[in-house]
Symmetry: C2
Subunit: 735 residues, 2 copies
């Protein structure tokens, strides 16, 4: 039973019609009067010393309005490790590094002008493999750090040695995870424009408007107050837009130089070669259990590839640690992750943020242990499952917890398939579970979001919220939450999505499945205040309890000494950043999920077909069940890509499959039957009980598929993607 | 002495650089993807019955995407008298009436398509003169009203008959005022676009965003909540954008029909023939004084031309009454104004809104009486001047009043010119005073304005205000007020001007010199609240009193259970709408001004040169003295145009001088030496003591010039503009 009127309804996405009919405006659609187009000259060598950059040829192309090389711009570095810059002046560290940039009246002229810039680079030895990069004698990318090691993340709880010593079963393995492309339908881009007072407006489909405001100011050497960021409609994010990237600084510098608006748009080639990717990761893991199936200890040693410059990819161990220290009741755990620079494209955040990488190993080993122990894999997980109202050794304070329910939901629905009539087709099932943050993740000093609510004379409710819609449906979720709290229909609410940073209240950005939870709470608080203002007015005016909203607002507005209805709120969850030992309650809620998959493996070709996925998730409360199911479906399909198809194939640092023909993302024909199961646990802190769901559905897919392949074939695959060749070789090797 | 840091400073206009360099974006600069351009087929006959409109020819023009005639749209009427509509289906009532409209891929195709629409109209007798229109047997424009009389405004106080009976001197005259074009540099236009949910966004340089939202909804038959209005940069207003006009509905209807964004832009021809004008007005007035110079009684009978449809021109008597009942201490006054429809272009609001018309008569007669009484004209005015803290018979509660000061300021500075060396050049001086609203004018149920203030982590203060900038400098004034109240530099403030109606708080619109006073108070209240939030945070956090703003805000934001600084306020002045007898305190403050002018009259040609203008105004407090002086200079020059050059010359209802070559607006060479004098009276209700100044400077110019011409030549001109022919004829008639 749904006690709510708007929350819990299958409201279609408010932007669906505009997106389906082409009315939505992406950065690709922006046209400012007098706008120029930019192109960037990029390094073709993966590692080298820049001897000279001669831009004079660029000016011979008609229509060129600005040309910049490193010497023309302030030498400013930014980023987590302050190791990147807009244009590179002394060293290139990967194919794609920015050497010069041109703004011209059209993109053809800009590209032609780039082609006429003469660059001399003295090649240096390069390193593309992260374990080689850690080895002694490897070429060092950033000499100021002395080696390619960026950081070591350590975590420990319990007596790991004792745990392994008393184990009945120990499994151990080496897992290899590839670089994965986000493949956003809208490639990166931005439009920059300086006004007559020297203030910059940047139209930028970033996921972190307020952090870009600050970081771009640092990159440009201007005050953050002089920067205004407006997000156009965003053609996908998935984590790819979570940092300040060189093109954002370049376009601003070109616009200042040309004294005109300038747009930069990545081609699909640039997107594949230059946009951040999910990091290549190597996980060495060992897990131990007692004979009765009780987990005793786990240990992992992880290496994460940062690529050439340190961005969010380097922070994925933070999420790994959270899972490693808190998922299942495991009395002892020890974790080390090392992040490493290589001469490859920088790695960033990507849906799940380290969790798909770690969980591929962890949930593969849970399957292995269950088989070793001859236990049903769900029974084994139930035996070790977290429960409501417990605090994990990692520091997570669990409140609502539907772990048992999601496991039972899969058990109930996952059927053992009949044997295939084709002798060369093996069928099997597998399960994997997921633990993820569901109430924000405090990786920054604030994990908060602000919101304002205005009610106008016509009863229209306008929500201005700091949060960002990247296609995930933030707009609709916020409208439902505001509608519920204000007791108006959803159609009476407009959410001003992705507006101007000057006008919007602050938000840390869209990541970590936080928006429905955090922004939803902010909107709910603001709406509650607005509702109270309306109620106060109604009572003061002596209007009946059933007086229409618009009438109350107008009566309050148009009386002597009238008032408008306007409320603002800020919500920052009751969490803490992880401490120096990487323990802490970083999220205000946690979520669990379990996927049960059924696969067919063609033993002759190694091709794996995922036929059916039961995907049960503890969503706290589904603000919009249709969209929650959509998140699950999208996550499952993207997870199938990660499991079976996707990887960046490099040769000497250059991507070999840098377009959609060769980089195999899953399409409609790869879509299995997906059975989403929404488990509602009514989280005490979430808005109307909701928890975040954006990432969890991608996380367990690869492990569940690998476990199903094992079930079908008896071979254990520990490297993604599980392409036909790898499966075929493994099956053949097993025979 | 200025006790303020930002208020009272000569801060350059914040949008000056953008406007001077062409960066400012007007509706003429907007480009939306897939945007079509509109053209309107207009009536060439002034009055007629529409027999048929055949649009089939329009479709033969390549690139046409939508064609509309009256039969294709809902029959909806709007406006003060509900007598106008988007497209006319049964009757045309003026040259320029809208018969059909086309949207096409470019404006040439749209215009060509309009040319191919076949219209049959049966001509009806027309009437162009408002006094003829009132006569029995005149053609009636709107038969449902029975006659061309729209409304009669009556006002009376004291015993007028007795006043005239005991008078020592009575002057009486008939004054004729022409139609005046606003001549905005940016002609009218709008862009309309419907989203996939059936919501309309209109980019419209209107002066009344929130009233257009409501009125356009009525015109289109949609809910007001479904309309979002965004104002681009506005290329002048002066009252011309104060109503909903047919083109705003037409462009929305075309966009809906074409399912694409559509823009309509007026050509200069259309602007001259179709945009509203200051109404032709006839004033019959009589004023009486005692021998000692005490005013005894005044009486006026006024006729105001509405043109073909009733818009704001019909409301100018409301301001006339206010002046007539309150300006000078006059114990008895009787006023009648009749508003009339004629087959001419509709009349609207124009800076001063009836006051320049009425005051031309009133201040001419003050001059006549002074001369009859052999009193110095300033002495005569001083004798009858209003004083602080009095309530006038008309109901105006006067608080601050610098009337005596402005009169003395002119007396001190106005020099009698030496005789011209040219015998045919006569020199003279004249004065005229003005009384005007300076604290809003309640002509609508609310005269309020809302504002919000946000302070971000960098100490940047963003003001979102309902008020509209039409070039008058609202943005800068609000920034100064917010800066003063927040104790930050003006450069730390950004005013989000003319944003989206969804986001901005409500405002009644920009008119009646109200913005600095009303919006200024709203901004001040919001800033005060924001400042208090900062102060509370500082104390709670234990930061020192001199801690920088940004540091306090960040500390408050990033602490546990942090908060953002966000405040909102609404200010509605303590005033009342005029009662049924047209008495009332409609404004929270009143202003006075006095102009002293020096002219040269060429007796051979009748040409009048204004050489010097002393313009003293009670501004309460000059928030920005440079801009206050700019308002005075602009008003004086526009007043000179009204006095000497400008009138719409009609022939059979068609404007004969409908472009800038023939319609003589004053230019740089007509600019006299202007000596602005700012009298500061520190109004108790105004923000930092300020009062409105937008309109007053235009009001007394014509009378002052006429009085100076009398001084120079001995002839009394009672018809504007005082073009050489009229002056020459009068001078010759006098000899």
């Amino acid at each position: 039973m749904n006690e709510y009127r708007s929350v819990g309804q299958r409201v279609p996405k408010l932007d669906a019609a505009d997106k389906a009919t082409g009315k939505a405006r992406y950065v690709q659609d922006l046209r400012l009067p007098g706008m120029l187009e930019a192109a960037v000259l990029r390094s073709r060598v993966p590692h080298g010393r820049i001897v000279s950059v001669d831009v004079s040829g660029a000016w011979q192309v008609p229509g060129v309005r600005a040309v910049l090389a490193a010497k023309d711009i302030p030498a400013r570095r930014w980023g987590y490790a302050k190791d990147t810059s807009a244009l590179k002046g002394d060293r290139v560290r990967r194919i794609g590094d920015e050497l010069a940039a041109v703004a011209a009246v059209n993109v053809e002229a800009a590209v032609e002008a780039c082609a006429r810039i003469k660059v001399e680079i003295e090649a240096l030895p390069a390193v593309f493999d992260m374990e080689e990069a850690l080895a002694a004698g490897a070429p060092v990318l950033h000499e100021e750090r002395g080696s390619n090691l960026v950081q070591t993340h350590l975590y420990e709880h319990g007596d790991v040695k004792a745990g392994f010593a008393k184990a009945a079963k120990v499994v151990e393995g080496l897992f290899r995870l590839p670089a994965q492309q986000h493949g956003c339908l809208g490639p990166a881009g931005a439009v920059a424009e300086w006004d007559g007072n020297g203030r910059l407006t940047i139209y930028d489909p970033t996921q972190i408007p307020f952090l870009v405001q600050r970081d771009l100011a640092e990159a440009l050497g201007v005050a953050p107050a002089e920067i205004r960021l407006v997000q156009p409609c965003i053609g996908g994010g998935f984590g790819a837009r979570l940092d300040l990237y060189p093109h954002e600084a370049i376009v601003a510098l070109l616009a200042r130089k040309a004294n005109a608006p300038v747009r930069i748009l990545f081609s699909r080639d640039e997107d594949f070669q230059t946009d951040p990717v999910r990091p290549r990761t190597v996980v060495r893991m060992k897990t131990a259990a007692a004979a009765d199936g009780t987990l005793l200890a786990r240990e992992a040693d992880v290496v994460v590839d940062c690529g050439a410059y340190v961005s969010w990819g380097a922070m994925t161990p933070v999420v790994m640690v959270n899972t490693f220290g808190s998922f299942y009741r495991c009395p002892a755990a020890k974790f080390r992750a090392r992040t490493v620079t290589t001469n490859t494209q920088p790695t960033g955040a990507f849906r799940g943020f380290g969790n798909p990488e770690l969980l591929f190993a962890l949930e593969s080993q849970m399957d292995e242990l269950a088989r070793e122990l001859r236990m049903d894999p769900i029974e084994f997980r139930l035996k070790n499952a977290n429960s409501p109202e417990e605090t994990t050794p990692g520091g997570a304070r669990i409140t609502s917890c539907g772990f048992r329910e999601v496991l039972e939901a899969v058990r109930k629905r996952l059927r053992r398939p009949a044997k295939s009539p084709d002798a060369h087709v093996a069928r099997g099932t597998g399960v994997a579970a997921v633990f993820h943050v569901g109430g924000g993740a405090r990786i920054y000093r604030s994990d908060g979001c602000g919101a304002t609510v205005k009610v106008d004379d016509f009863g229209k409710v306008t929500v201005v919220v700091g949060a960002t819609d990247i296609g995930q449906g933030m707009e609709t979720a916020m409208a439902q939450i505001a509608a519920e709290e204000m007791d108006v229909p959803v159609s009476a609410v407009r959410v001003a999505t992705n507006a101007d940073t000057d006008i919007r209240p602050w938000d840390v950005g869209v990541h970590a499945s936080r928006t429905t939870f955090i922004a939803g709470n902010a909107v709910r608080l603001a709406a509650r205040d607005a509702k109270k203002q309306v109620e106060d007015a109604r009572r003061t005016l002596g209007l009946p309890a059933d007086a229409p909203l618009d009438k109350v607002v107008r009566s309050e507005h148009f009386r002597q000494k009238g008032r408008l209805i306007h409320a603002s709120a800020y919500y920052d969850p009751p969490t803490a950043m992880a401490d120096k030992t990487n323990h802490g309650n970083v999220s205000a809620a946690y979520t669990w999920g379990c996927h049960g998959v059924e696969v067919e493996v063609d033993l002759e070709t190694g091709k794996v077909d995922v036929k059916r996925v039961i995907a049960a998730h503890d969503v706290g409360r589904a603000i919009n069940p249709m969209h929650a199911e959509g998140q699950i479906e999208g996550g499952v399909l993207q997870g199938i890509g990660y499991a079976l198809f996707e990887e960046c194939v490099l040769k000497d640092g250059r991507i070999q499959n840098g377009h959609f023909l060769d980089y195999r993302m899953p399409g409609p024909r790869d879509m299995p039957e997906i059975v989403p199961v929404l488990v509602e646990t009514d989280d005490p802190e979430g808005p109307f009980g909701a928890k975040g769901l954006g990432e969890a559905p991608i996380v367990p897919v690869a492990a569940a598929v690998a476990n199903a392949i094992f079930d079908a074939t008896g071979v254990r695959l520990r490297e993604l993607p599980m392409i036909p060749e790898r499966v075929w070789r493994a099956v053949r090797g097993n025979r």
